[in-house]
Symmetry: C2
Subunit: 263 residues, 2 copies
């Protein structure tokens, strides 16, 4: 048996999220089916990030075990010919049988994209959230500075998540909001994110960008540790999981990320 | 009666092109239906550019006549609530009843996007043409220089177009190929384009980028005035009609475009 790791990109528009579930087609299900067909074994993948319905990924990570002798790096090509256009493998390789994509320290990067213009753009509708009216990206960027570092992000956790044992403390290595013409990008990188955390942050930033909340209030929202202090949850389709990296494989990358915090 | 001009953006993926036709849903048909419903009159639009199946637009132009008294600039909002997500009006205004979007001098800009990376990207699959393997955008940019100016572009006209009376001479004001990471953009601006011209140019540029044709050969291909001299027709979904402008309304813009030719 060997364990193979896949880097998976998908357009989440037509899926009920990552995780296999009884009522709807998911990315994981399509991947399990393609792998089972390819290997002739019953394959069940373990994903690093169980993205919600409508959320996209450029680099989610999944592993599976197989006794097939094909080299780990050949899976990307072999799978892509069997996968639909909206799910494509970006790389594959053999990893240690002990490697678990969720119970290993990670550095994850998410991006939330806001299309801020007068009218919707049909060619960019699936991976941006369209919002008209003035929006000040510099105010938004000012507000994210206080997120960097280790904090209790309870204010930015979906109220549906009720497990009281779970820690709500996470470390953010970098956070930035930049405008490129009519596109506002909010990019955030950290060691983990609570349920809906990036979307609640994005929803709060929209209120800040529109002048309804002062950028300086972000610190107080964070300190309140109460979901009702933050803004609304921004729609899923503006969110993309850009990258997941594992510090144990790249200690230098992890040190650089930690250094960013002190900038 | 008044004539209203619309700037129309669409994702061409799910349409059989612009022009109304018996076997398939087109952008123009959806637009005619939405306008007829809105005005209570039977509206038939006239489009500036009859884009092919799968081709996208950020700024195609259409006009229609109506006796409804709503101001011309209100149509964009009124229509967008009735249009599907993949067709959205970007602006509307009243124009002279004599204005015809196709029989008026125009400056059109098209963009062909090539996604040049190892694996396909699901979130960018609908408006880029994915091609792996090394591709040299600088060679491609060198090759487009000879297109600028007035030339007979017969070599870049689909062989299906056989009307011998139609001139195949067009003026290109600017043409450029740039790489931004894994994306190669070929942008071309001129007073008109022959049937499939931008896609045949893109297909020829791909061969140049891959080293199969020398950049200097573009001049000879142009001079041959023979479709078989050029490369293949690149797929429709990589092409976007960015903009159509009318020099009679903006003489300065037109003069600037002509000046670009001498750069």
């Amino acid at each position: 048996m060997k364990r193979v790791m896949l880097t998976v990109a998908y357009d989440g528009t037509n899926y009920c999220g990552w995780q296999v579930q009884p009522n709807g087609i998911t990315v994981q299900q399509i991947l399990n089916e393609a792998l089972s067909e390819l290997t002739g074994e019953e394959i069940y993948t373990i994903g690093a990030s169980r993205t919600d319905a409508g959320v996209h990924a450029r680099g989610n990570v999944a592993v599976f075990d197989t006794s097939v002798r094909m080299p780990g790096d050949k899976y990307s090509y072999a799978l892509n010919t069997r996968l639909p256009e909206d799910i494509k493998i970006q790389g594959s390789r053999e990893v240690s049988p002990e490697f678990h994509p969720r119970f290993t320290d990670t550095v994850k990067t998410y991006e939330y994209k806001i299309l801020n213009r007068r009218f919707p753009d049909p060619t960019r509708r699936s991976d941006t959230c369209f919002l008209y009216g003035p929006m000040d990206a510099e105010r938004m960027n000012e507000a994210v500075l206080c997120l960097i570092g280790e904090h209790d992000f309870r204010s930015f956790r979906a109220s549906g998540e009720t497990n009281p044992d779970r820690s709500t403390v996470r470390t953010i290595y970098s956070a930035k909001v930049v405008r490129e013409d009519d596109l506002i990008r909010f990019r955030i990188c950290g060691n983990g994110f609570l349920y809906n955390m990036v979307r609640i942050l994005a929803g709060t930033l929209v209120e800040i960008g529109r002048g309804k909340i002062d950028p300086g209030e972000m610190t107080q929202i964070l300190e309140r540790r109460d979901r009702s202090a933050a803004g609304p949850t921004a729609p899923a389709h503006g969110l993309t999981l850009l990258e997941i990296r594992y510090p144990e494989w790249e200690p230098d990358f992890f040190i650089r990320k930690q250094e960013q915090m002190s900038w």
